[in-house]
């Protein structure tokens, strides 16, 4: 056996590697959490995406940011953890508030002793005024359009903040709730940070920033001076794990306690088998809409839009994506929002009728539409959509593009059909305004996401916003939904819930029904066994 030495060399090398591995051992290399003392309770979170957009709470609206903002920041008021019911909004930094009879002047009294993280002292009315003005400024905030109706924000005294509105809004409390533009930041910290609040991230919430390593993780520690009491969890490691499979595997190997799941029935069914795992399915549901661009051919003809509506079989979509994670929705506002109604016109599934409508509209041989889709969501259901439309004589040529590129393109009217999913503050006004008010259509400076260029319900949406009689307000919102559905600006499909995996050792300390941040809340009550 003359070649023995070579084989021996190879085997030796392999043996050396195995020995090295065995020596290193897995326990040393758990996560960043492992470097702290074992007595500490560290919650290890795995989130999709490669990095946060920003730790500045006024600067980003992506889920990956929202989830962690909610652990760091507070607002004047908040939803009780685990709910998003506007009628249950409770005090946070403010301890009480009053409003004038015409609903235009709101006065908030701050709770004494609420401290910012670190050495930034007690929250004063000045900080609140500074934060709200900052949130209303398009240069410093992604949410400036939410604050259009604000006239003045003043500090009456160090513990009193007065907001004066130009016109009444459906939910002023919604704007100052601990979420999006409602988060309160420290004026001193922001001025020190010089436009880079990500590096400071000073808030009033239960957890404070310890370290941010870009593309790797954000580490938070318990805020020792949190006014509701020091959190029982000592540390949170919020790690970016973009690969879906890697998050699943990291949970199975015991390296995660909480992680972003997948809105997919097959995933839910498969992961349910994992010991020690609880699947959390919670609100807010994100409404999946097929927006049809009414400003361009062929969807400028209502018969063609009706043909699409009759071609869609909503139940098949629910079956395809999964009954555990989606609920069918016939209306153009997510289920359960204040002002929601399901009393809207229905288009029964009838491909023959679609063909007939197309023929009437001058397309006896059907139509072909080019559609741009994001590579990040709905990828598989597109195939079902294609198949359903094909039965009605509509050929859909789908081009999947990278998410950011897709977003830029749909904002330039480059796709006649835009399949989009979204949730907003749970009052019909914001959703209807952003998706179906003509001022929000692409091309306008105030453009947001009215991809259908819908303009049929502007009057109702505007009137409802300032209506002081709650009953009349609801009627107006219902009327708007009816008109939008009737005119087929969009074909609503279903609401998709948020899906996360949680270790059974982790107890949130509250019942998780819904979360405005799209992720579970970790509070001073949360514990890890």
């Amino acid at each position: 056996m003359k070649i023995a030495p070579t084989w021996r060399a190879g085997l030796l090398a392999a043996a050396a590697i195995v020995a090295l591995a065995a020596h290193a051992g897995p326990s040393d290399a758990q996560t960043a959490g492992a470097q702290t003392a074992p007595a500490q309770s560290v919650v290890r979170v795995g989130i999709h995406g490669a990095d946060i957009g920003s730790l500045d709470p006024h600067m980003s609206a992506q889920t990956i940011d929202n989830v962690i903002h909610a652990w760091i920041y507070g607002g004047l008021v908040r939803f009780p953890a685990g709910t998003i019911d506007p009628s249950r909004i409770e005090p946070d930094i403010a301890e009480s508030w009053t409003k004038s009879p015409d609903g235009l002047v709101w006065t908030f009294t701050l709770r004494p002793g609420v401290k910012f993280h670190g050495a930034y002292g007690e929250v004063t009315a000045d900080d609140v005024v500074y934060s709200l003005k900052r949130a209303g400024n398009p240069k410093t905030s992604a949410f400036s359009s939410d604050f259009k109706s604000f006239d003045k924000v003043e500090a009456v005294d160090p513990r009193t903040v007065r907001i004066t509105l130009k016109t009444p809004v459906p939910s002023l409390l919604g704007l100052v709730t601990a979420q999006r533009g409602g988060y309160v930041i420290s004026r001193k910290a922001d001025e020190e940070a010089g436009g880079q609040y990500t590096s400071k991230a000073i808030g009033t919430g239960p957890f404070q920033l310890e370290e941010y390593r870009s593309k790797q993780f954000v580490a938070l520690v318990a805020n020792p001076t949190y006014f509701r009491g020091r959190p029982k969890i000592d540390r949170v490691v919020y790690r970016f794990i973009p690969a879906n499979e890697s998050r699943d595997l990291a949970f199975r190997s015991g390296e995660l306690d909480l992680f972003y799941g997948r809105k997919d029935q097959r995933w839910v069914d498969r992961m349910k088998q994992t010991p020690g795992l609880a699947i959390e399915v919670f609100g807010p549901g994100e409404l999946r809409l097929i927006n049809l661009n009414t400003s361009m051919k062929p969807f400028d003809d209502i018969r063609v839009r009706q043909a699409v509506a009759h071609a869609i079989n909503r139940q098949d979509f629910v079956k395809f994506v999964g009954a555990d994670v989606v609920s069918p929705n016939p209306s153009v506002v997510p289920l359960g929002y204040l002002g929601y109604t399901d009393q809207v016109p229905r288009f029964e599934y009838d491909p023959e009728k679609s063909k007939h409508l197309l023929k009437e509209a001058g397309y006896p041989n059907g139509i072909t539409i080019k559609v741009l889709g994001s590579n990040r969501s709905f990828v598989e259901p597109y195939q079902l959509l294609q198949a359903q439309l094909a039965k009605a004589g509509i050929t859909m040529e789908l081009q999947l593009v990278e998410h950011t590129a897709w977003h830029a393109q749909i904002r330039q009217n480059l796709s006649a059909m835009v399949v989009y999913t979204a949730a907003r503050f749970p009052v019909a006004d914001i959703f209807l305004t952003q998706f179906f008010h003509s001022a929000s259509a692409p091309g306008k400076p105030t453009a947001v996401t009215n991809f259908s260029h819908c303009a049929v319900a502007d009057q109702e949406i505007d009137a409802a916003r300032v209506e002081q009689d709650p009953k009349r307000q609801l009627e107006l919102w219902h009327a708007a939904q009816k008109k939008i559905v009737e005119n087929v600006c969009a074909v609503p499909l279903f609401d998709e819930d948020q899906v996360w995996g949680r270790s059974t050792k982790l107890d949130f300390g509250h019942k998780l029904e819904a979360s405005i941040s799209f992720g579970p809340m970790l509070t001073e009550q949360s514990t890890l066994k």
Binding site: A21, G25, L249
Partner: protein
């Protein structure tokens, strides 16, 4: 020798500048920009416009380009448009992880690939040869994301030897090594297959040569013939291959870093692409170019050292 190094480094400057310029314009031509990705899907056009102004993206492209060149002259790669951190700091922060991963993969490939290739050539058309050829075919055609997931399933879940999150941020050396092995093997397996095939082919070319026959005729042991005469000549091209592959492996590290949740240049570049972080993309291009040029230079020097017929001037 010093002149040679200096000359090569000078030649690298236009290469780096050209690639960074191509990336500069390509990135800006792509639909979507950092303002959109910072502010998220629900931002109003107004807020996006304000953000563009803040990032300097409302300036004419030529003005932006001149600014970029000016910064380069001062050896300043700028600050990330997303995190605000200096690109140099972000790159230096993760560079060691990518380098250690690539070096591990190279070492894995060479240490196992060369002996396998030699063994296969000596046992031509017999079982070890078939096995190695079949194995290297599988290695070459196995995509890293698939192999990575398989390795994780086997060695992190079924036999929990290694962590799934191979992020070496625990601080301990053992942890760092444990976090390196699965990703290193995943990245190295293609290179291993490549090295095994190349060394087998090179050996087969050398073995029928006259001087090998001469060596055998003068009564040298088979070991001396194979290692002293055949290998010395046959394996020279492996040096070149390794140098060239270093750059390729650094590129392939992208997928490996994502599957194993490791920090590194690959993850940095993917993140920068997705969020349209122009400044980071330009900086990374320059860094990648620099590394490739540097490795090629080292390869040439090493080649000169191992092959006396080649002189470095």
């Amino acid at each position: 020798m010093l002149r040679f190094v200096a000359k090569r480094m000078m030649l690298a400057v236009p290469t780096m500048l050209l690639s960074a310029s191509v990336v500069f314009f390509l990135a800006r031509i792509l639909p979507g920009d950092p303002a959109l990705s910072i502010l998220g899907d629900s931002a109003s056009e107004e807020a996006i416009a304000a953000m563009r102004t803040r990032l300097g993206l409302d300036q004419p492209m030529l003005v932006q380009y001149l600014g970029f060149l000016g910064d380069l002259l001062r050896l300043d790669l700028g600050n990330s448009m997303i995190s605000g951190h200096a690109v140099t700091a972000e790159v230096l922060g993760v560079l060691p992880y990518t380098i250690e991963l690539t070096v591990f993969a190279i070492a894995f490939g060479v240490v196992l690939g060369v002996p396998i290739g030699i063994a296969a050539s000596l046992a031509r058309n017999r079982l070890p040869d078939y096995l190695s050829r079949f194995g290297s075919l599988i290695g070459l055609s196995c995509p890293p994301f698939f192999l990575g997931i398989c390795l994780l399933l086997v060695f992190a879940i079924w036999v929990p030897l290694f962590p799934v999150i191979s992020a070496p941020d625990t601080g301990t050396l053992g942890g760092r090594i444990a976090a390196l092995i699965l990703p290193g093997v995943t990245l190295g397996i293609i290179f291993l297959a490549f090295v095994a095939r190349s060394s087998r082919a090179a050996m087969l070319e050398v073995l029928p040569e006259q001087y090998i026959r001469t060596a055998r005729m003068k009564g040298l042991s088979e070991r001396a013939v194979v290692f002293g005469h055949a290998c010395r000549n046959a394996l020279l091209p492996i040096v070149t291959v390794t140098g060239l592959y270093f750059g390729i492996l650094m590129g392939n590290a992208v997928v490996t870093e994502i599957v194993f949740t490791r920090p590194g240049l690959g993850k940095l570049i993917i993140g920068a692409l997705n969020s349209r972080d122009y400044v980071m993309l330009q900086g990374l291009t320059i860094v990648y170019c620099f590394i490739v040029v540097l490795v090629n230079l080292v390869t040439d020097i090493v080649y000169g050292l191992v092959d006396p017929r080649v002189k470095v001037r």
